[in-house]
């Protein structure tokens, strides 16, 4: 590992491009009278001015998004934890390990703490190893009796798989990493949307019956309350039909195409679609979607004057600087 890789803090990340001895020539940060930066905005600008700084912003964005997703409905999860302790449920399908209240609570806390640590961590080598720990923890939560059905952990799992891959490659000399990272996030977001769309390719969803029963009948949420108060029951039922068809069409169209869109357009589309799902369905869904929103935002970090996308389709992992 070169000495540049051991320089970890945000300020240093902007200055290491001067010390980069690899073959890749990268522009250095703009030093001004305000250097070193003290304002948050100038700190972020300084980070974005270097390849590695931009990579770190992307990585930390996904960590904070996923952490927020996991703690978004904390009061509900605390109530759930109390229920798991008070009323264990014994099923042949789940072994004691995967139905234990201690396991689900301990693993959840462990995952949150490690993600917070990874967000803060300034050592590349350490981060590249600890980035795998949330994947392990979330793998347990994805198959635990108490959490397997909560898509919060499925989307967080994908975000942490991306993070584990990305963390091991943060390097000033890899000018294409952010493009490959954005491409991978687009593909993850596409597949997750497609998963929701395919399950709705049914007559019951196309008619609106399923979402009518779940949301429009009695769900206490601003848009459904407003629709019930403003329209007759027959009209509400008809609105449910068109709402459901809109969901199916958007999830299908975006799920099939997002992966192929240019980075910044995909980021904007992904943000809009995922945020709208929660805003127009259920605020609790932000626990599922914040990690995906953060993944989508990575696309905004691809430089406008990014080099040809060819290397992003032929991933090359740079070795350490040649001796």
């Amino acid at each position: 590992m070169s000495t540049t890789e051991t320089i970890q803090d945000a300020d240093a990340s902007a200055s290491i491009s001067h010390g980069n001895s690899g073959d890749h020539q990268v522009p250095g940060p703009t030093h001004s009278d305000s250097w070193p930066p003290t304002e948050p905005a100038s700190l972020i600008a300084a980070q974005l001015s270097s390849v590695r700084g931009r990579q770190l912003v992307a990585y930390r964005l996904v960590q904070i998004g996923t952490l927020l997703a996991l703690i978004w409905k904390l009061p509900f999860l605390i109530s759930g934890a109390k229920a798991y302790i008070e009323l264990p449920i014994y099923q042949d399908f789940f072994s004691p390990l995967f139905s234990s209240a201690a396991v689900v609570i301990g693993t959840y806390l462990f995952v949150c703490i490690v993600i917070a640590f990874n967000w803060y961590c300034r050592q590349d080598r350490l981060r590249s190893k600890t980035a795998w720990l949330p994947v392990v923890g979330l793998s347990i939560l994805c198959v635990h009796q108490g959490t397997y059905n909560d898509m919060t952990f499925t989307t967080a799992w994908w975000a942490m798989v991306w993070s584990a891959w990305f963390a091991g490659r943060i390097d000033e000399s890899d000018t294409h990493l952010i493009e490959r990272g954005a491409k991978l996030t687009r593909t993850i977001l596409s597949v997750i949307l497609l998963g929701g769309a395919v399950g709705k390719w049914t007559a019951e969803y196309w008619s609106g019956q399923v979402l009518y029963e779940i949301y429009f009948v009695d769900r206490d949420f601003w848009i459904y309350n407003w629709i019930r108060e403003s329209f007759s029951p027959d009209t509400v039922r008809e609105i449910a039909t068109w709402y459901s068809r809109k969901v199916i069409i958007v999830e299908t169209a975006v799920g099939l195409t997002l992966w192929a869109m240019p980075s910044r357009i995909a980021a904007a589309v992904g943000l809009a679609v995922y945020a709208s799902i929660a805003i127009f369905s259920n605020y609790y869904l932000f626990s599922v979607l914040l990690s995906l929103i953060a993944l989508a935002a990575v696309g905004f970090l691809v430089p406008r004057d990014a080099p040809s996308s060819e290397p992003a389709t032929e991933p090359i992992r740079p070795d350490a600087s040649p001796a």
Binding site: D23, L77, S79, G80, A83, Y84, E86, L87, P88, I89, Y90, Q91, D92, F93, S95, F98, C142, V143, Q145, G146, Y148, N149, D150, M151, T154, W157, W158, V161, W162, W165, G168, R180, L184, T187, I188, S190, V191, I192, L194, G195, G196, V198, G199, K200, W201, T202, A203, E204, Y205, Q209, V210, L211, E213, I214, P315, R317, P318, D319, P322, A323
Partner: protein, 149 residues
């Protein structure tokens, strides 16, 4: 020797993750047409997969708001009041969660909510399972299930 030092190597992890994503996408797109995929996913939703490992490996496959999942909750026949009527409703996904997830499981303490029938439908294929909650000797409940025809 005139050999050049290797400066770069393929990013295999990147390729593996992309391959898994492509595999998941193919699986999903096959769902409307493949009885195998449909039945496998119905079994996944109702915890009827043959082994826990085969069920667990499907965890990365996203399944938000999928299928028409309905439930009916009622008392066991010997607890039933003549005035009690079953509660029915619709669930977004993984319908068995109505007996296990978070505070939902607390409803099992009520004697009129211990017989749960779940049905999922997808493009003409369906799966119905019945779940019985029996008090455990220490605390909590034992949950047993069977597939209904």
């Amino acid at each position: 020797m005139d050999s050049q030092p290797s400066l770069a190597k393929p990013d295999w992890l990147y390729r593996v993750i992309l391959a898994v994503l492509v595999g998941v996408a193919v699986w999903l797109i096959a769902m409307p047409f493949s009885p195998l995929v449909q039945q496998t996913t119905l079994n996944r939703f109702h915890l009827q997969t043959e082994s826990f490992a085969a069920w667990a490996i499907q965890a990365p496959i996203p399944a938000m708001y999928s299928f028409h999942n309905r439930y009916r909750i009622e008392a066991m026949p010997w607890d039933a009041s003549p005035f009690a009527t079953p509660r029915t409703g619709t669930l977004n996904h993984f319908p068995v969660r109505i007996t296990t997830f978070a505070t939902d499981r607390l409803y099992l303490k009520q004697t009129d909510r211990r017989l749960i029938t779940l049905r999922s439908d997808y493009r003409g294929r369906s799966l119905t399972t019945q779940w019985i909650a029996t008090p455990h000797q220490d605390c909590g409940f034992v949950l047993t299930d069977e597939v209904l025809p």
